[in-house]
Amino acid sequence: MSVITPTPGRTVRPSRPARTSRRAGTGGLAAALLSPTLLVLGLVIGYPVVAALRLSFQVSSEGIDPSTGFVATTTHYGTGNYAAVFSDDRLLRPWWNTTSFALASVTLEVLIGVCMALVMHRAFRGRAFVRAAVLVPWAIPTAISGILWKWIFNSQGVANSLLDTQVLWSSDGFHAWLAVVIADTWKTAPFVGLLVLAGLQIIPGELYEAARVDGASAWRAFWRITLPLVRPALVVAVLFRLLDVLRMFDLPYILVGPRKHSVETLSMSAFNEMTNLRFGSAAAYATVLFVYIAVVALAFVKLFGADLLGRGTRSEP
């Protein structure tokens, strides 16, 4: 298949002059055809990002008029919001929560997701049922699953009675952090599983036959054939999950609650500032989070070469 061995036909290109002369015309047409999309993207993505950036430099100070009790607000531009965000542990704690959530739950999700995919890939009776069943957690809206897990982790809930413990999951502490990781893994491991399954399905069976003929063990076949070939799909899945977890908000907010130190993420910090009408400071948090996610995503793409632009899978040496 083309994935591994490019067919000779692919390397044959049309003669150069014909292509360049056509390119000018089609380029203009392409730009014209794309312009509505670019305009919409600029409006719904570009503008908000720039506006938020501008807002994050807008420092407001409020005072109360001692005679009427009315609020008087003055606004100026400066870096005060960022100074406040980077002072004491207001940033560090949610940053660490966000990061540790990402590391822990993505690792678990990849391990469990790959296992799920391997199971779903086997031919057995009821395979369709298993595939559909595995997808159920992914199909449940996060807010709803947050409520479900909140019940499970209630002090008088199922988790405690099954484990025969009296852990107060929703009180602040490591257990609250763990509860969020468990709920997030439950919900999104199927997503990883599904993407990996799609990757598995394009691996030709002949490769395994050849490996068997060569006397490779199942374990060796997994490491040398399955994993390398499923890697592009897996990398995309992990990247999506990373981006998703880094902006996590709903699960900890609903499952444990706002302003609980052990589960407060950067998004929750931004939200908290916004609900208290400090929009500048909220925008500063959001910008920090934006930059952080961008850096992580970039580093990830550079390290693992996720193929996001659809250039086709490169064959690995």
């Binding site: 009427t68 009790g69 609020v71 209630n154 008088q156 107060l168 609650g257 302003r259 009408l277």
Partner: protein, 418 residues
């Protein structure tokens, strides 16, 4: 549409700095913005008004059920100066914020029967000595107790914390009483904790924020209040699980017979008394005012207040409507139909109502000494500061003195604003 409205509003807004909606002569259709009507009874009341005032119809705008989301909608509406909401049904803790930001108009206090209402409840609509909102209904905490277990030991409902602990010890002494927890309230880190902490401080004779608007949680009384909660967790008076209790968690514990005393809002009366088997304590409980340090304690206030948006049209109609909506007849209906506690004092003495709601006498006592939650413009920051330190002290991660010192510092910062 908005622009023309804004122009009109701007005019009246600038001219009414001395006078509120009573100066307005604008009449016409208005809206009532209120949290989701879970009782399904609001529309019937609006229909009665609409029938009598065909040219000044009121439309109900239902907002989300969650208080935080309601506040957000109200604020967004105010920040865009939209006239979509005329009359606002506000949680009392927002009144200061809305008044200070000039999002609501001052109301003509003398045109409302405020003297017939319970004074503490009227105060919830007050900011800087002016009435910005009038009570629609109110709420106060009660001490639910297991009358069957108290009778067995011959104990009376406690009026002090020490008495409560004594009674618990007596009930828990026999082997069958081992599993019952003594006391719980709402101690999860959310608004309920602010309510319960403020009650503990008030019940010890202190104040969270004094009349001048200064934070006063560094006082001896505040210390004794918090100490009661912290000791409760330490010595087992308050079961450990209660650290995660919101209203419904505590209700489940009380209804399944796991609690002897429970600080709760009156709504628990009907549910705990249900005879369909959902409650194991039906017919076995009573209510009393909250206990305190040296005598009866003081509850925090809940409820809802009505106010008029600064940016509303037809303010004369809005004012008339609030007078109608908050009148005694409607308050009586609301009590009867959905057991909402009325702000009017004499309804609590009505024999027919007392028969239907036996807890009314106790609730009146509780309301008489109740205190509004701290009046702070930046209430969100204030309640966060309270919850932060109270939770730290109750979980044992911070000593009481240090927690209160932190709370005093953060609360003062929230009040001072920057």
């Amino acid at each position: 549409m908005c622009a023309s409205v804004l122009a009109g509003c701007g005019d009246s807004g600038s001219s009414d700095s001395k006078g509120g909606p009573e100066k307005s002569n604008d009449r016409g259709p208005i809206t009532l913005a209120s949290g989701k009507d879970t009782t399904g009874t609001l529309q019937a009341q609006l229909d009665r008004w609409n029938k009598q005032h065909p040219d000044e119809k009121v439309t109900l705008v239902e907002l989300p059920e969650s208080a935080d989301q309601q506040r957000q909608q109200f604020i967004q509406n105010a920040q865009t100066k939209s006239d979509a909401y005329s009359v606002l049904n506000l949680d009392p803790i927002w009144v200061a914020e809305f008044a200070a930001n000039q999002w609501i108009d001052e109301l003509p206090a003398n045109e409302f029967p405020l003297d017939k209402m319970i004074p503490a409840v009227v105060k919830t609509g007050n900011y800087f000595g002016k009435q910005y909102a009038v009570p629609f209904n109110t709420n106060a905490g009660l001490l639910f107790y297991r009358s069957d277990l108290l009778d067995k030991t011959g104990a009376k409902p406690p009026t002090t914390w020490a008495e409560m602990k004594e009674t618990c010890a007596k009930v828990q002494k026999p082997p069958e009483g081992k599993d019952i927890g003594c006391y719980a309230g709402q101690f999860d880190k959310y608004e309920g904790l602010t309510v319960n902490f403020s009650e503990a401080v008030a019940s010890a004779g202190g104040e969270v924020v004094d009349a001048k608007g200064k934070a006063t949680v560094d006082t001896e009384a505040a210390k004794k209040g918090l100490q009661f909660l912290v000791d409760g967790f330490k010595d087992g008076t308050i079961p450990k699980q209660a650290a995660t209790y919101q209203e419904e968690d505590g209700r489940r514990a009380f209804q399944s017979g796991k609690l002897l005393f429970h600080r709760q809002w009156p709504y628990q009366w009907a549910l705990a008394g249900a005879k369909d088997g959902s409650s194991k304590v039906a017919g076995k409980f009573g209510v009393a005012p909250l206990p305190g340090l040296t005598g009866p304690g003081r509850s925090s206030l809940g409820g809802l207040d009505l106010a008029i948006s600064k940016f509303a049209k037809n303010k004369a109609t809005a004012l008339d409507f609030i007078k109608f909506f908050s009148n005694e007849a409607n308050a009586r209906t609301n009590l009867k139909v959905n057991s909402a506690a009325p702000p009017y004092a004499d309804l609590y003495d009505d024999p027919a109502l007392r028969k239907q709601f036996p807890y009314l006498a106790t609730l009146k006592e509780s309301l008489a000494t109740a205190t509004p939650r701290p009046v702070v413009v930046r209430y969100g920051d204030a309640t966060a500061a309270i919850q932060e330190s109270a939770a730290a002290a109750m979980s044992g991660s911070q000593p009481v003195d240090a927690a209160l010192a932190d709370m005093q510092k953060n609360l003062s910062a929230a009040i001072a604003e920057k």
